[in-house]
Amino acid sequence: MLGFLARRLALAALTVLAVVTITFALVHLAPGEPMLGNAERMRADSATIARQRARFGLDRPIATQFAFYLANLARGELGESFVRHRPVALVLGEALPNTLLLGAVALAASFLLGVAIGSVQAARRGTWVDGVLSIGSLACYSTPSFWLGLVLLLVFGQQLGWLPVAGMTDPAAPEHVGPLGRALDVLRHLLLPAATLALVNAGAIARFERGALVDALGAEFVRTARAKGLSPAAVLVKHAGRSALAPVLTLAGLSVPALLTGSVLVESVFGWPGMGRVTYEAIFARDYNVVTAAAMIAGILVALGSLLADLAVARADPRQRPDA
């Protein structure tokens, strides 16, 4: 188990290094002038630009810059945002928790919803219920998340007026609502973006859960469980369900990249102040340090997702433990 963990961590470190290298090369080789905000860039003369470039070391060869960047990174230094004139760690540190909140709620909801739908389908295999749910989950899985977000916004935000249409908090909320009131406010704002991401992801998980459960229901140990007189529900949940859990957990871990992608789009739809939006703005502003650090965080999250999935699988299914 330890050897496995070490190998996986080494691969993850290699991947993150690859992400940092590729992103660093991309942003530095791309055309365009970094450093200054749009308005500043308009009226800056070449001397100001040269001074700015020298200040951040951008006038040196790219290999030297990369060496400096890695050395700083090793000390935990992510540099300064060119545009916001603040440390990158602070800029991303404010946005990351918002994205993690959105992503975690969406992942948990999509996992529960997907496993529930897939289980009902497997239990009612071949009936009209199965057919309807199959089409439903295929449609969810085939829907563009950003468009689904707009549709939910239109229905629940505007037509019914139940939920707020943008942001993470209500700017007009009174000061004295207290922590509980503030949490409820965030929850109300979270509902639509999280539902958007969860529905799309649940479609994929339901399709997978159904397949895994149908496979498991055909296995010998399930026949044994039935033969000894267990109720169909107990067989489905305890015996087949346990065995089907491993592939679905893997899928849930592997859906981290899809959730990150989705969050870039969904954050833009709902004005959610997360990593996606910060990264998007930073790319357009050529804010090198923010872009590279954001890519690194995305790489770490993806690697972490697949590692956690492997550990969860090992826990759920003893046959798949790496040292077994």
Binding site: L11, T15, I22, L26, V27, S142, L154, P257, V291
Partner: protein, 281 residues
Amino acid sequence: MSPWRLAWRRLRVNRAAVAGGVLAGLIALATIAAPLLAPADPLAQPDPVGLQNLPPGAGHLLGTDGFSRDVLSRTLYGARVSLAVGLLAALLAVLVGGGVGFAAGLSRPAVDRLLMRGVDVALALPRVFLLLAVFALWEGVPLAAVILLIAGTGWFESSRLVRAHVRSLRDSDFVAAARALGAGRAGVARHLLPHVGATLIVCATLDIGNIILLEAGLSYLGLGVQPPTPTWGNMILEGKDLLFAAPWIALAPGLALLFTVVAFNLLGDGLRDALDPRRAR
């Protein structure tokens, strides 16, 4: 009967797959025939003030957008970018992925391990982030580059599948027989190719839908093919600002996206079940 004929028979009786195939075919036809079907020029702005944001009605079946352009015509023309990117990038991706997977499956363990480690790392790269960065930093990327970049970052999964398939077949009797009759590496490859072909077809079809969604997402962020050329993604972006006043502008291209992706996914599922009946359930 040949396995391909058998697969065709299984596909024909799969109602969902047939529906998906027919729908995908109709969408492809409508895309090619867009100049004949579209009631108006997708770029024409007859009266940007008087005719803007008209609701769906007799003159404009799906209404007009903020520049008085006909939404139906723009949706029809928008399909061109989506389908071109989806079909070509999926095809390219499985060809590259198939080639690498095939080579890895048949080569020496050292080469195989090197290739697959590389694929492991590449699979863990945040693909959309990298595409986003490239498209945004080099503004106005041409369509061909969009296709190449999406394919170039999307072949890793299929290379893994093909490699696994090749390795599982490498020790089978028919390969041993071919070897015994004097087949070299090329000869063995020729015997394996038809088997791997099925995997590639399924991969490519299921990939089309994902790539169409990916392109639409990037387009929605204002990247890739630029306005005024309509793409479903940039139409939804334009419709976003008028969502409450004129929801049809964003709804029409979104529904077109949804139906197209559903069609290709139904067809892909059906092909997988037909070509690999042991997996069908």
